[in-house]
Amino acid sequence: MTDTEFVYTTYIRSTPEKVWQALTTAEFQRQYWGLALISDWKKGSKWESDGGCNHVSGEVLEVAPPKRLAYTWSNFDGEPGHSRVTFEIEPMGEVVRLSVTHDKLKTAPQTLTKISGGWPHVFASLKSLLETGKGFDIARNKESAAA
């Protein structure tokens, strides 16, 4: 974990199961993310994005519902290689703590810039969707939500 560039966290008034569903279901993702990640979410399976301004793909590394999900992430702008995204879901009383770590980005500075600006919006939108039934219109603000 020495290569960790950021850990983003939000507290959502919801259940781990709902948060898990939001992370792995295309219809949910479109509402808060503006794109969908298509996969069967089994370890070793591929995933790829549908919609959004960057085509992204990767491989599912870890699936432990409703606690932990990890996958590789193809870097943007022709930067070679894959980085790694890890979600952790932890129940804490009435709320759920959701964290995302995106690491192995040392060799992909462009991707790092886009990603680190994108996740906070995605998380804020996801929180809003689960708590109020409405996500933000992220797709319309693509440059600020490249992730």
Binding site: F6, Y8, H121, A124, S128, F136
Partner: protein
């Protein structure tokens, strides 16, 4: 709901704490010792500020062995942004921000 937000605004209403967030933005994953290095604050004062930042979820920590690494967590600021600015002003705000940066000669 209100209390989460109160914590964020309170945490941000202090130049030393904003300074700590600036340091973590530039260099993620600093330890307490490293964060103390370039401040004239005592270790106790830095610890106290970090406690408030963590309570507001503006700083997230991870353990690496015996060390505690600190990361800036901008999600609460994104929530504030989305609530008051995001929906209608994005394009115009970006233009104003670019203009301000150009005029003030700031780096990104």
């Amino acid at each position: 709901m209100g209390t989460d937000e109160d914590r964020v605004f309170k945490a941000l209403a202090d130049a030393s704490r904003r300074g700590l967030l600036d340091r973590l933005r530039k260099k993620p994953g600093l330890t307490l010792g490293e964060l103390c290095e370039h401040h004239d604050m005592s270790r106790q004062a830095v610890t106290k500020h970090l406690g408030l930042l963590e309570a507001a979820n503006l700083v997230v920590t991870r353990r690496r062995g015996r060390e505690k690494l600190h990361y800036l967590n901008p999600v609460p600021i994104s929530e504030i942004y989305a609530r008051w600015i995001g929906r209608f002003e994005q394009g115009r705000m970006a233009a104003l921000d670019n203009l301000k940066q150009a005029l003030e000669g700031e780096k990104q």
